[in-house]
């Protein structure tokens, strides 16, 4: 190992119009190390990595690879310099085999067979060297996400990457899969590769990296040896002030059930059962958390209860009224009328219309409410008045109801959605991923609001893929795997145990499930 850094960035600047996404960034990544870059959403991590991978050009500043100044004009140039990237959303062709995906874009000749055979040998060597075992002939669509990610890593190695950038790699993984990934990274490091790990999860930084750099608002605020820092210090560096990592809440005082779901089965458009015979109860005054790795039916469960998706069968009792979900034609507006609020998992795709003004989004779904309309017309004065009140109460910044929601930060966008749904005072609130892509400061605020709502005697169903969030907020935890509820635990649930349940390991405490979900 030489002392020349694998990557060195000097005074990198990047502006998007008035937004200064990267300010005078200096970064030195040592060869053969795992270097973490942590920061809140919008801190500029992804921009920086995109500059390194050639998606964007820096306005100013130098990039040095192996001590030599380089220009990275596109991703091809980055690959040529030995930089590989594993994207947050995999860039794989689902109905191609592992081998075909690895070769894709590096076929070497017009005819496939030569390249494929060479790739097969090379893949075998890589698998042995790095313990990255994947069946080269398996189709991507048949592989679990953890293995798909491995294919992405193999792809980069096949293109002889010396530096591997991983962008939020654990978002889709179970805790055991994440641990396995970290082991792979360790092997890569020992083989002399350099790894850049981008994440907003403090725990992963502590578990996997040698060095960590913290970004805040486009600036590189600190670089630390991981061994000589702590989660608290990093959190403070990320936010710029000290933060409470735990949620302060009193024990729940559940009352009568407000929502009872029985034998709910949902089939998706491909005819696959995504929710399988699920039953549970949510009581007034409690938060029920649904833990699970993304894609195990939680999203579909939430959307079905919200009236967005149709169920195959099942019943829903809400506020004493029984609805046969298998035959009901109730849509989202009807469910809202039954006092069911819904903070959707994906605010960009579903919760907000980003090209609309804040005030227009503040009534999305409630626009037919007589309070906001006069006959067929919208009562813009009443709508804006309400928007201003919500902005003040939820400290939404900038406090401008005329601004397009696209121009708010993630945390403030989420507050807009939350304000809209909570302020209608529903009896039941469905909450999906309330703090995904939200900065730490806003997370505190959002968690507090949800707990306040519980304390006001409402029933809350929380779906999150962040196990920490589930454990911090929930009074009861249900674990979903493969469309089924595979276990139930109390608020003091052990993380390791939940992790195993999320990974589909049989629950040896079956009684808890059979006892109904309560």
């Amino acid at each position: 190992m030489s002392d020349t850094p694998a990557i060195e960035l000097r005074k990198i600047n990047k502006r998007f119009g008035p937004v200064h996404a990267n300010k005078d960034i200096d970064l030195v990544v040592k060869k053969g190390s795992i270097h973490g870059i942590i920061g809140e959403n919008g801190a500029g991590k992804s921009t920086l990595m995109s500059i390194l991978y050639g998606f964007y050009q820096a306005d100013e500043g130098d990039i040095l690879v192996d001590g030599k100044k380089v220009t990275i004009s596109d991703s091809k140039a980055a690959i040529g310099l030995g930089i590989g990237m594993v994207h947050q959303h995999f860039m794989l062709v689902d109905n191609f085999s592992v081998l075909e995906n690895v070769v894709l874009g590096a076929e070497d000749s017009a005819l496939l067979s030569g390249g494929i055979n060479r790739a097969r040998t090379e893949l075998k060597r890589l698998e042995d060297e790095y313990e990255l075992r994947v069946d080269p002939d398996a189709l991507i669509q048949d592989l679990p996400v953890g293995l798909q990610q491995r294919v992405e890593i193999l792809k980069a190695l096949y293109r002889s990457a010396e530096v591997l950038i991983l962008d939020e790699p654990t978002g889709v993984l179970t805790p055991p899969e994440a641990d396995h990934l970290f082991k792979i990274l360790e092997v890569l490091k020992n083989e002399g590769k350099t790894v850049l790990l981008i994440t907003h999860k403090l725990r992963e930084i502590m578990a996997a990296t040698d060095t960590v750099s913290v970004m805040r608002r486009g600036e590189m605020v600190a670089t630390r040896e991981t061994a000589s820092t702590s989660m608290e210090e990093l959190a403070e560096l990320m936010v710029g002030r000290s933060v409470l990592l735990r949620v302060d809440k009193k024990p729940a005082q559940p009352k009568a059930p407000v929502m009872e779901v029985e034998n709910l089965t949902v089939t998706d458009s491909r005819g696959v059962q995504v929710v399988k015979d699920v039953s549970f109860i949510v009581c007034a005054g409690e938060i029920v958390g649904i833990a699970g790795v993304s894609g195990n039916g939680q999203s579909e469960l939430l959307e079905t209860l919200a009236g967005i998706r149709r169920a195959t069968r099942g019943t829903l009792k809400i506020n004493g009224e029984t609805i046969d979900l298998g035959t009901s034609t109730l849509d989202a507006a009807d469910m809202r009328a039954k006092s069911m609020g819904h903070v959707p998992e994906d605010r960009h795709r579903m919760g907000l219309i980003n090209s609309f003004s804040e005030y227009e989004n503040s009534i999305l779904g409630y626009h037919r409410d007589p309070a906001y309309s006069r006959g067929v017309l919208m009562d813009l004065a009443a709508i804006k008045k309400n928007a201003v009140a919500e902005i003040e109460k939820y400290d939404i910044r900038p406090p401008n109801p005329m601004l397009k929601t696209a121009n708010f930060s993630g945390g403030n966008q989420q507050k807009i959605v939350l304000a809209r749904e909570i302020e209608r005072d529903p009896e039941v609130l469905l909450v999906g991923q309330p703090t995904r892509g939200v900065d730490i400061g806003a997370i505190e605020f959002i968690h507090r609001r949800i707990v306040e709502m519980r304390d006001a005697g409402k029933g809350i169903l929380l779906v999150s893929v962040e196990l920490d969030e589930i454990r911090a907020l929930s009074d009861r935890v249900l674990v979903m795997f493969d469309g089924k509820i595979v276990g139930e635990r109390g608020s003091d649930a052990d993380e390791g145990e939940l992790g195993l349940l999320m990974a589909g390991v049989e629950d040896n405490n079956k009684m808890a499930v059979e006892g109904g979900a309560r």
């Binding site: 502006r15 998007f16 119009g17 008035p18 937004v19 200064h20 919200a306 009236g307 967005i308 849509d331 989202a332 507006a333 009807d334 469910m335 809202r336 819904h342 959707p344 795709r349 579903m350 919760g351 907000l352 219309i353 980003n354 090209s355 609309f356 227009e360 999305l364 779904g365 626009h367 037919r368 309309s373 067929v376 017309l377 919208m378 813009l380 696209a406 121009n407």
Partner: protein, 368 residues
């Protein structure tokens, strides 16, 4: 991302102006190529369209057609639908106007007939848009495909009806009888003789078109239905989340769009031709797409774009008359260039303009 944010006057003023300037520049080159003086040509075109009363009258007459078809396309745009069936919907809308006029022209004055003509034309236009709308909403058949196919069906249907059912007895012309006074809208020249519109067919339906602009503005930006239409157009998933029915929104929007397109027939049939005849739409439905694009799907922009295209139609006719080298086809080429630059290449200058405007602002913000 606020990178694309520009001052409003740039977005709605400078960029369309640049697009137009580019279109005229290229057109000028074409004029030079065929050996005429482009400056003279521009002068003729402008003079022919707005230089004298009758020219203005023709320009406004064409503009009336474009306002209706432009609004039709714009309303559908707001729901994310691309209604390119304005041509057929306007054609069939002619039936509604003709029915009202043929039934009433001999018994009541025009101002009684007009409401029926409006209702008839919009109902017929809407009906013609209904089947594509329904197929899109429930079957996912793309409206671009179905509406354009319906243009052809409309064309054949009208030929059949005019030849076999509506033709004046004893005539060889595939057209209805000429309407009496009760089926004719007053020409503006008769109402405002001092403007000197002369023989230009511009008529009262211009005001119907302007009223439609106001109503569309209210619909889109002030009503709950408009909110639902815009929500669905901007983010269909969020619309479903908000309890907005896609089927209902698609069908209603297309009905409104088709109705507006159908109303174009009032101007042509009741305002100018005073009889229903073959091929009276002659491309107004398609130009409406360019009008809506150029007018940014906003009624004010549509009025301005309609006047521009009205000028091109009228001034172009004048130009080809005065400069025999510039044939009717050349005029269509010029119109095509305007559509190309204002519509298809709308964003060509945008990145450069964004660059031009943002660094100074960012620097100003930094220094502040």
């Amino acid at each position: 991302m606020s990178a694309g944010q520009l001052p409003r006057w740039v977005d709605y003023g400078l960029i369309p102006f640049l697009n137009l300037a580019a279109a005229f520049l290229v057109s000028g080159l074409v004029v030079v190529l065929i050996g005429e003086n482009p400056l003279d040509a521009v002068q003729l075109l402008v003079w022919g369209s707005v230089g004298y009363g009758e020219g203005i009258g023709f320009t406004l007459f064409y503009a009336t057609n474009f306002i209706f078809t432009g609004l039709a396309v714009a309303v559908a745009f707001h729901a994310g639908l691309f209604n390119i069936g304005g041509e057929g919907q306007a054609y069939i809308g002619g039936l509604g106007v003709a029915f009202a006029c043929l039934a009433l022209d001999q018994i009541v004055p025009w101002y009684i007939t007009l409401p029926f003509a409006i209702i008839g034309s919009s109902l017929m236009g809407a009906a013609w848009a209904f089947i594509p709308a329904w197929l899109q909403a429930t079957r996912g058949s793309h409206v671009v495909i179905t509406t354009i196919m319906f243009n052809f069906i409309a064309s054949s249907l009208m030929v059949y009806l005019l030849n076999n059912a509506l033709k004046k007895p004893g005539s060889m012309q595939p057209e209805t009888r000429t309407f009496e006074a009760g089926g004719r809208l007053p020409f503006l020249n008769d109402i405002f003789p001092s403007f000197g519109f002369g023989y230009a067919p511009v008529n009262l339906s211009l005001f119907v078109a302007l009223a439609a602009c106001v109503l569309v503005w209210v619909l889109i930006w002030r009503t709950k239905l408009g909110f639902e239409i815009r929500s669905f157009g901007a983010n269909a998933t969020a619309a479903v989340y908000a309890g907005i029915s896609p089927v209902r929104t698609i069908v209603i929007t297309m009905l409104i769009s088709g109705g507006l397109a159908g109303m174009m027939a009032i101007n042509e049939i009741m305002g100018s031709q005073h009889r229903l005849l073959i091929d009276f739409v002659t491309g107004y439905g398609f130009v409406g797409i360019a009008v809506a694009l150029m007018g940014r799907a906003h009624p004010v922009g549509i009025v301005l774009a309609s006047i521009l295209f009205g000028m091109l139609y009228q001034g172009g006719a004048e130009l080809s008359f005065e400069m025999p080298n510039i044939t009717r086809d050349m005029i269509i080429v010029i119109q095509g260039l305007v559509i190309l630059f204002a519509g298809a290449l709308e964003h060509m200058f945008r990145p450069a303009i964004v660059k031009l405007f943002t660094p100074s602002r960012a620097l100003a913000a930094k220094e502040a």
